[in-house]
C-alpha cells in the first residue's frame, strides 16, 4: 500500500467523469489516494471524489496573483504540494492540460514520465502505452524522484470505492521567471463536448461531402450523448475543423463506442481510435478495409443508414 496522488481535472465546479478511471487506476490494490485540484475550493469537490476512494483533496495554489496564467508556476506548486504530503507518484488524465503540466513537472525535476498510457502498475513502477500509433504497446519502467503518468481518457474502467474525505488548502512558496504567460483563453469554434473524453463518437469520412451534411452525424451522436469526429480527408476538404480530427495527426480517442461513417479504415485513422471498446463501421463499399478490423459492420449508404440508426436509437 502506498499513498498516490491524482491531479484532478475540474469542469468549473464539478469533477470531470473522465477522472474516475484514473482514480481507479491509482487505487490499485488499496492505495491511499490524495487528490490535487488547482486554484479551486477543495471542499467543493469532496462529494464528487469520495465515491472513488479519495481520502483527502488538496487545493493547490501559490501567492502569485497570476497563478492561473502560469503553467510553469502551477507545475512547481504541484511538485511542492506532493513533497508536502510525501507523495512521489502522481497520475492524471492525459488531456491537453494534464499532459502539459506533467511534462513541465518532469522536465523541472528530471523525473520519469509517461503520457497517453493505457495501463499502469504502481507496485512495479511501470506503465503501458502505445508505440507506433497503436500498432504496438510498450511497457516502460520509470525512475527518478517522481513517478508521473497520464492516462488516456476511458482507458481504464471506473469502479467505485466510497470512503471518508477531508479537504485542505496548500499554498506553495514558489516563484516563476515570468517567461511564459497565458494571455487569453478564447473560443475556438470547435465542439463543446471534448472529443477525447466522449463515451460515444460518430465520425464522418470523405463521403459525407460537405460541412452541412455533418448535421446527420450530430443528430445521431446527440441521441447517444456523444460527440462528432472527422477523418483527415474530411478535415482537409474543409468539411470539419481540425479540432474534430481523429487519427495520427488529430485527436487520440478511446470511447466505449466508435461509429465510423464512410471511413476506409486507414492505419493513420486507426492510430487515433484503435483502443475504442467497440468499433462500428458503416460504408457502402463492402471491400473497405475497415470491415476487416471492426466489431460490427453495415454495408450501406451512410445517408440512409445513419438517419435510420438515429431513429432506432430514439425508439
Amino acid at each position: 500500500m502506498a499513498r498516490i496522488g491524482v491531479l484532478i481535472e475540474t469542469n468549473e465546479k464539478s469533477v470531470k467523469p473522465a477522472n474516475f478511471g484514473v482514480l481507479t487506476a491509482a487505487r490499485g490494490e488499496g492505495n491511499e489516494i490524495y487528490a490535487f485540484v488547482l486554484e479551486a475550493d477543495a471542499a467543493a469537490f469532496q462529494d464528487g471524489l469520495k465515491a472513488y476512494g479519495v481520502s483527502k483533496v488538496i487545493a493547490v495554489g501559490a501567492s502569485d496573483g497570476d497563478f492561473s496564467k502560469k503553467p510553469d508556476l502551477q507545475a512547481a506548486a504541484l511538485v511542492a504540494a506532493m513533497k508536502n504530503v510525501e507523495i512521489t507518484a502522481l497520475l492524471t488524465l492525459s488531456s491537453t492540460r494534464g499532459k502539459d503540466l506533467l511534462a513541465r513537472m518532469a522536465a523541472a525535476t528530471h523525473s520519469g514520465l509517461a503520457l497517453d498510457c493505457i495501463g499502469v502498475d504502481l507496485d512495479a513502477g511501470t506503465c503501458v502505452k502505445p508505440y507506433f500509433a497503436g500498432k504496438t504497446e510498450a511497457t516502460l519502467k520509470l525512475s527518478g524522484d517522481l513517478f508521473l503518468c497520464a492516462i488516456r481518457p476511458n482507458a481504464i474502467e471506473e469502479t467505485e470505492a466510497p470512503c471518508d474525505i477531508t479537504a485542505e488548502t496548500f499554498t506553495a512558496d514558489v516563484t516563476d521567471d515570468g517567461k511564459l504567460v497565458i494571455k487569453e483563453v478564447k473560443a475556438s469554434g470547435s465542439a463543446k463536448v471534448d472529443l477525447s473524453e466522449a463515451n460515444v463518437i460518430v465520425t464522418g469520412g470523405r463521403p459525407i461531402g460537405s460541412k452541412e451534411n455533418f448535421s446527420i452525424l450530430e443528430e445521431c451522436a446527440n441521441a447517444m450523448g456523444g460527440a462528432v469526429g472527422a477523418s483527415r480527408v474530411a478535415v482537409d476538404s474543409g468539411f470539419a475543423s481540425h479540432a474534430m480530427q481523429v487519427g495520427q495527426t488529430g485527436k487520440i480517442v478511446s470511447p466505449k463506442l466508435y461509429i465510423g461513417c464512410g471511413l476506409s479504415g486507414s492505419v493513420q485513422h486507426f492510430a487515433g481510435m484503435k483502443t475504442s471498446k467497440v468499433i462500428v463501421a458503416i460504408n457502402n463499399d463492402k471491400d473497405a478495409p475497415i470491415f476487416t478490423k471492426c466489431d460490427y459492420g453495415i454495408v450501406g449508404d451512410l445517408f440512409e443508414v445513419v438517419p435510420a440508426l438515429t431513429a432506432a436509437l430514439k425508439k
Partner: protein, 255 residues
Amino acid sequence: MRVYVCVKHVPDTAANIKVVGGSGFDESVKFIVNPYDEYAIGEASKLVKAEGGEVVIVTLGKASAMTTVRAALAIGGDRGILIKTDKQFVESDETALILAKAIEEDGGADMIFAGKQAADSEGMQTCYRLAANLGMPVATEVIGFSYADGKAIVEREIGGGEREVIEMTAPCVVGATKGLNEVKYPKLPDIMKAKKKPVNEMDAGSLKVDALGLVELVSLEQVPERSNAKMLEGSVTEAVDTLVKLLRDEAKVLD
C-alpha cells in the same frame, strides 16, 4: 536569427511494424521525417524569411537518418546537424540533453521548433526537457505562431471549444502540430538543392552528456487487429435495429 528545428527519423506511419527481440523492431521499413516536424520546419522557414537568419535541422538517429536530414532540408532549412547513435530508441531525457548540447555547441538558438511528439515512441516530452535544459519557456501542440519584439505568441487548442493564447519570451521552444501551417511538399529542384546543403555529422558520444536513464523500455508487443466483424445484413431498418440491440445487450455500450 538562428533557428533550430529538431527533426526525428521515424518509420512511415503506414508501415507495418514487426517487433523483434522483445523490445525492438525490424528497421527494414521506409523511414520518413516525423510528420509533426514538417509543420515545425515550415514555421521556422517562415520566421527566418521574415526576420533573416538561418534554419538549422538537428537530428539524433542512426547513420541512416541522413535521408531524413536531406528530406527535411528539402522542405526548408539551410544546413543540418546529424548526431549519430547506434540505439534504436533514445529516451526523451537523453535525447533532450544531446540536442541541447549540440545546439549550444553550434552557437545557440534564437528559437527552436520541433514536432509536438514523435510518431514512433510518442513520448510527447522532448520539447519540455529540451527547454528546461536550455532555460527556455516552452509550449507544445501549437497551431498558431507569431513573433515580434523578442516575444512569441502561440495558440494551442485546449479542448472544450477553447484555445489558449500564450506569450513567451524568446528564445523559446515551440512544439508544432497540424493546423500550424500547410506543409509544402518539396519539388525536384528543392530536393536537388538539399543534397548540396552542408550537414555536420558527429557521434552522440562525443557530446558527453550524462543521462539519468529515467525511462526504460521493458518490452514492446504487437497489438493484434480485431477480426471477425459481425456484418449486419437485411434492409437498412433491420440492420440498424439489430445493431442497436447488439450494442445494448451484447456489447453493453449503450444504455
